[in-house]
């Protein structure tokens, strides 16, 4: 458990070194260059020590390519849609970036609809661009409009935890009642359940387990669920 502050040197050395979020290769005053942390958190590396990154929590999403995000349509500009994904700039989604879309056959989105999309372009100087199909297969693969349901905001680390298949929360909730969820890596989770109180229970559980707001573990969540009427 090696915790670092920003500006600390990290001992990342490998022939094929790949630095992930939170690390930059910077020239030091001594003339050499080394991996230096740019945010606070735990230093993690892959098993063969060629991938290093800083595991920290934050609330603000910074877009990166090939990440799956949940966006809200805010406006229409010509043929494309402007989608809010929680980043500094609104993203643009082309009207034809859906599976099987042609000029005559376009999906009918409205302002305020929810989308599950993939960030196809994320560059610091340009606004991010989204696509609603998988990069390799060009098929929907779950991307597209999310109809109905409820949107919950959480911290970025919580989203990464929810996307981990070994995390306890969704199997625990799914054992009690059927639910459908979509997790965006931009801090948003879409929940769809049959009854409103089930949706509320899932939303409150996500907020309770969020490391940014309490960080309950499995035992505490089971007790908490007992107090809710589901």
């Amino acid at each position: 458990m090696s915790l670092v502050l920003p500006g600390e040197q990290v001992p990342a050395q490998h022939v094929n070194l790949k630095l992930g979020p939170g690390l930059l290769h910077l020239p030091l005053a001594s003339g050499q260059s080394a991996a230096v942390s740019t945010k606070a958190g735990e230093v993690k590396h892959s098993a063969n020590r060629n991938k290093w990154w800083i595991e920290g929590n934050s609330r603000r999403y910074v877009p990166a390519p090939q990440e799956s995000v949940i966006g809200v349509v805010v406006a229409r500009s010509g043929e494309s849609w402007r989608v809010d994904i929680g980043s500094a700039h609104t993203a643009s989604l082309d009207g034809l970036a859906f599976e099987g879309a042609t000029k005559r056959n376009r999906p009918n989105l409205k302002v305020g609809s929810l989308l599950y999309a993939r960030v196809s372009l994320a560059h610091k100087d340009m606004e991010p661009e989204l696509e609603c199909f998988d990069a390799q297969t060009r098929k929907a693969e779950g991307f597209g409009e999310l109809k109905g349901g409820f949107l919950v905001q959480c911290s970025l680390k919580m989203c990464r935890l929810l996307l981990d298949p070994k995390h306890f929360l969704f199997p625990l909730l799914g054992a009690r009642f059927p639910l459908e969820t979509a997790v965006g890596i931009n801090g948003r989770v879409w929940i769809n359940c049959k009854e409103p109180r089930q949706t509320i229970a899932v939303a409150r559980c996500i907020e309770a387990v969020d490391p940014d707001g309490g960080g309950m573990d499995e035992v505490a969540i089971k007790k908490f669920l007992g107090t809710l009427d589901v």
Binding site: L5, P6, V62, A88
Partner: protein
Amino acid sequence: MRDLSIVYEGLDRVDGSARFGFGSTKSLSSVSGPIEVRPTLENPSQATLDIQIRPLAAIAGTDSKALSSTLKSIFAPALFLSHHPRTLVQIVGQALCGSESGSGLGSAGRGWNASLTASLVNATSAAFVNAGSVPMKGVVCAVSVGRLQSDGSRPATLILDPEEAELPRLAGSGCFAFLFSAVLATSPLSSAEVPPCSLLWTNYTTAAPFDVSELSAARGLAEKGAHEVWLKMKESVGYLDKSISPKVDVKTAVEESSTGMEVDDEKVEI
């Protein structure tokens, strides 16, 4: 130095927030960014820093504006603003104590004293660490140094982090802000566990005539104090997630509030 305290507030609508205190001299700071920027403030090559400072009481006056431009010059070299062009990084700083010396009360009092300024700089650094969304070159740590009144025959006595009660006896004081980063050059004063640091800003002023050796002695003393602040910040990374909050601070806050309140129902006459 007085007891340092760092509490990560977890304020609702901002990305990062922290409260820093030198003993009872405390400030609160919040950071949001990178967020959307108004077209008038937009900078095509880097993020815009927008800093608002609020005193404990009264409205923000000229000294708040001066302090915000000071903080801008301190934090601009400490952040990688070029990584997020055409965005805004918004900082709001607030004094949490106004005292007999008049500090923290804005233009109504005698302005911000050196300790309060230092606590504000440290609170902002801690808020950036908490936010984790703006990449940082290093952590900025600030301390204040005071100079006791003395006759001209002996060199001045410098004290690190003067308390509120000692302020009337000072003939000069100032805040020193250092950037701690591995990319800086090491100096004879740096230790193995703390990265090298460099002085970003100071406002050390005295009533006595200017003396270069006094200024460098004050700077050396401040550097040692800043090392302590950095070590405290490093320790606080362990409780960045609110699930593991520092128990000591919560207990003292509860004690303070319970002793401060008086039950005066009997005294109220209807």
